[in-house]
Amino acid sequence: MATFDADEAARLHRDLHSHLPSDPALRVKTLESLMVERGFASEATLDAWVEAYSDHIGPKRGARVIARAWTDPAFKARLLEDAAVAIKDFGFEGSATAHLKAVENTDTRHNMVVCTLCSCYPFALLGMSPAWYKSFEYRARAVREPRKVLAEFGVSLPDGVDIRVWDSTAELRYLVIPQRPDGTKGWDENRLAAIVTRNSMIGTDRDLDPGKA
């Protein structure tokens, strides 16, 4: 008489499927192979993108832009005028920064960036966005209660500092220019760039620490 061992059947089933990539990995592989085959994208371009964003495109790019703005008033004026054009000095432009607005923190103004719709972000300048930037919670609360959100990032804004939250779109993304901290007089661009944090360029960090250079 044939017997049916449920545990054994389950094991065989698991074993069979364990050689398959995960469901999302298979869906991506499916899309990728069709897109490449139909000429929508080339494999080389896709590979280069993944390598760049897994590896060398990150917030150090944005930090260099900020350091330049701190040391070169003419550059800063151009950055505030049209950031998408100004960052071409560095070759940092990309499809996600075709329209970019720089907003400057002052003693009385703090700027903070969110994308309430999805996750628009100047990733050619700052690399991949952090996980929290993409979370439901940050996207919902940054506009509703920015001071409370900032406090959770360890930033307490003094009275007299107002806060402006910028909601990114596919057409317009934002870069916060943090304030140059005291105690950095005479520093060159490289040394200054080292103290500019990613979060300060999104606006969830405010007072930069010269001791971190």
Binding site: L16, H19, L20, P21, S22, P24, A25, L26, R27, V28, K29, T30, L31, E32, S33, L34, M35, R38, F40, A41, T45, L46, W49, V50, Y53, S54, P59, S95, A96, A98, L117, C118, S119, C120, G127, M128, S129, P130, A131, W132, K134, S135, F136, E137, Y138, R141, V149, E152, F153, G154, T169, A170, E171, T197, R198, N199, S200, T204, D205, K212
Partner: protein, 109 residues
């Protein structure tokens, strides 16, 4: 409560799995080549994220990238040769290729 990362720590990897980076690369390539507009992409991804939230999905990176993939598939439906039925057929071909390929060897269709 948000769990902000240490802003001065080395950047954490943006991707938990290679497919997440690949999905974003595909979306970026389609926008860069003009097959989708940036606005269509943002709207479709926004709708996928809102849907995930409504369904009670956890607020995690995996949920986010699942929405990215879902949005990509939604927009793929509008493109010649990338329809749901073309994808179904191609996926079956990949699954068959994985099953017949001995472990450790490159998987080819």
């Amino acid at each position: 409560m948000l769990r902000p990362d240490d802003p001065l720590a080395p950047p954490t990897p943006g991707f938990d799995a290679p497919w997440q980076a690949q999905a974003l690369a595909l979306a970026d390539a389609m926008v860069a080549a003009g097959h989708f507009t940036a606005a269509d992409w943002a709207t479709t991804l926004g709708a996928a994220l809102a849907n995930a939230k409504d369904q009670g999905a956890p607020d995690t990176l995996n949920t986010y990238y699942e929405a990215v993939l879902g949005a990509l598939e939604t927009l793929a439906d509008t493109q010649p040769g990338l329809s749901a039925s073309a994808r179904r057929t191609r996926r079956q071909a990949w699954e068959a290729a994985y099953r017949r390929t001995p472990h450790g060897q490159p998987v080819k269709l």
